[in-house]
């Protein structure tokens, strides 16, 4: 299988007044297409920063990040947006839905070729049958996260990046979400990266990466 994403000596430095914080400090990593990886590590170890760069939501301060062989720092903001929309599905810890839209509308928001049936089928698969017209505020945390996952999948991305998707859910709901991600990986061949604090959740993945101080330690 070919490499889907490649981190090459990636640094991300934040300036806090005089002080500099290295959220990432020389990260090297390649992930192959079709892999399912869990990322663990203490708070502040750079997991979210890593995921943001992988999702082209942020740029490395130094080093290169490639997705499908493309160096993201060389892309225009429009090309970056197109990659985000076509190739990447992002799932946040906070559910980050549009509060004024229904569940179905949220799912269809980024859809490139509008297809109501496809959206409904996807939601059914995520266990959201009958919730199409509910607003996020009328859904439970687990349901909202399923809506976010549906939205992330609507354009058939090659990779799904999830930042603590189960962080605000109870263990039953957390397992259900991880089961969905595992299913996607096994049945549809979607590459998946999940950041989690929960060992039990991480066990769903094929490989577990440990981070510390902006680097991968195992």
């Amino acid at each position: 299988m070919s490499n889907l994403i490649e981190f090459n000596d990636v640094w991300k430095t934040y300036k806090m007044g005089e002080e500099e914080v290295n959220a990432l400090a020389g990260l090297d990593l390649t992930l192959k297409e079709g892999s399912f990886t869990a990322v663990m590590g203490p708070s502040g170890s750079g997991k979210s920063t890593f995921l943001h760069i992988a999702g082209i939501l942020d740029m490395p301060t130094e080093g290169t990040f490639r997705i499908k062989g493309k160096d993201t720092s060389r892309l225009s903001s429009k090309e970056q947006a197109h990659l985000r929309r076509n190739e990447i599905g992002f799932v946040f810890q906070r559910f980050n839905l549009m509060p004024q839209l229904t569940a179905l509308e949220n799912v269809m928001l980024p859809m490139i070729d509008e297809d109501l049936e496809k959206a409904k089928k996807l939601m059914d698969r995520m266990g959201l049958a009958g919730k199409y017209n509910k607003r996020p505020g009328q859904l439970s945390g687990g349901e909202q996260q399923r809506v976010v996952i549906s939205r992330a999948l609507i354009n058939d991305p090659s990779i799904v990046l999830a930042d603590e998707p189960t962080g605000e859910l109870d263990s039953k709901n957390a397992d259900a979400i991880m089961q969905i991600l595992q299913d996607l990986n096994k049945k549809d061949g979607v590459t998946i990266v999940v950041v989690t604090h929960n060992r039990e959740s991480a066990e769903f993945a094929d490989a577990i990466i440990e981070m510390k101080d902006g680097k991968i330690i195992s």
């Binding site: 939501l57 947006a81 980050n96």
Partner: protein, 349 residues
């Protein structure tokens, strides 16, 4: 689902929210409409009421010409005199009807005439009406001209008012006086004119008239200052509202970026929404302003001047202006939001 549809839904579904956003625009627009409207109305009223005073020189036949009327040739010469502008002719002459002396007055500005009954056209003073037993609809014959009385004036005088053009025609195309504004010092112009055109005398207006003119000009300036303040308040209110409403949606804009919308798409839909809010707010503001104007017109007895107080240009300008201004006001925060780092935007609570 496209972002334009979403922008529209944002407004439609969150009615209270949209109403609150629009409130600033509505208040701004209503303020502009009411203040500019009243100023425009008051200006028209003052202009109408004082237009007979708004001249620098009066030109009439000289004593030596032996007539109180000047012929059309002389009038033309005066009117084409290069140092004069805003030239107004006036024809008045005496007639006797059934043994009663009346004065036929050529009238340029009917609004100045206060009517007891009827409408403008052929108006007789109450005094004349009483003596001759005229009512609206009575037939009058002056200089072989058959006319019907259309109104009775409040004035207890001896005048019959007709259109200036008709009065002039009845007086064999003669005029009794011409008023005009002058380029340069009125005194000099008046003297030059007397020397250049035979048979006329030119008088400059009295000190009193000059004083009234000054006062009118000052009060109009004052009124337009007040209207400008209203305009400024309205504009600031519209801009402020748009800035806040886009700023507080930073997080939502961040989500849109994260799921792959381009900066251009986000800008476009944000400005679209701003434009719609500006437009709707302005329409509602104009309606409220119109109600205010109507109330003010009633209170000030300006109802005759309603069309001057709510002119079409004001309505169109205010609606177009508010829409454009809202889009411009949305431009800065929309640009800022579209340029914003996604991660930071999403952290925004």
């Amino acid at each position: 689902m496209n972002l334009y549809k979403m922008a529209f839904n944002n407004i439609r579904r969150r009615k209270l929210r949209s109403a609150l956003t629009m409130l600033g625009i509505i208040i701004g627009v209503a303020t502009i409409v009411v203040l500019v409207g009243i100023t425009a109305g008051a200006t028209s009223v003052v202009k109408e009421e004082t237009s007979s005073l708004m001249y620098d020189v009066t030109i009439s036949p000289s004593l030596s010409s032996g007539s109180s009327l000047m012929d059309n040739q002389t009038a033309s010469k005066v009117e084409s005199y290069p140092k004069l502008y805003n030239v107004t002719e006036f024809t008045g002459f005496q007639e006797t009807i059934n043994g009663n002396d009346v004065t036929i007055q050529g009238t340029n500005n009917w609004k100045q005439l206060k009517l007891k009954t009827g409408s403008s056209g052929v108006v007789v003073d109450s005094g004349v009406a009483e003596k001759l037993g005229y009512t609206v609809g009575s037939k009058v014959k002056i200089k072989d001209q058959d006319m019907t009385v259309t109104g009775i004036a409040k004035e207890n005088g001896e005048n019959i008012y007709v259109d200036q053009s008709l009065a002039k025609q009845m007086a064999d195309n003669k005029v009794s006086a011409i008023t005009a504004r002058t380029y340069g010092d009125p005194k000099t112009v008046a003297e030059d004119l007397q020397n250049n055109i035979t048979g006329v005398s030119a008088q400059t207006k009295s000190e009193k008239v000059a004083e009234v003119q000054d006062m009118v000009n000052q009060s109009m300036l004052f009124a337009s200052i007040i209207a400008s303040v209203g305009l400024l308040v309205g504009i600031i209110s519209v801009i402020n509202t748009m800035l806040i409403s886009v700023m507080e949606r930073t997080k939502q804009l961040g989500i849109l970026k994260a799921i792959g919308f381009t900066n251009g798409e986000i800008m476009g839909s944000t400005l679209f929404e701003a434009g719609i809010l500006g437009f709707l707010g302005a329409v509602i503001g104009v309606v409220i302003g119109a109600v205010g104007i109507f109330a003010a017109a009633n209170a000030l007895h300006f109802t005759d001047y309603m069309s001057e107080m709510l002119p079409v240009w004001l309505i169109v300008t205010v609606i177009v202006g508010s829409t454009v201004l809202s889009i411009l006001a949305g431009l800065y925060p929309a640009r800022r939001a579209s340029k914003l780092n996604v991660v930071e935007a999403l952290r925004d609570e």
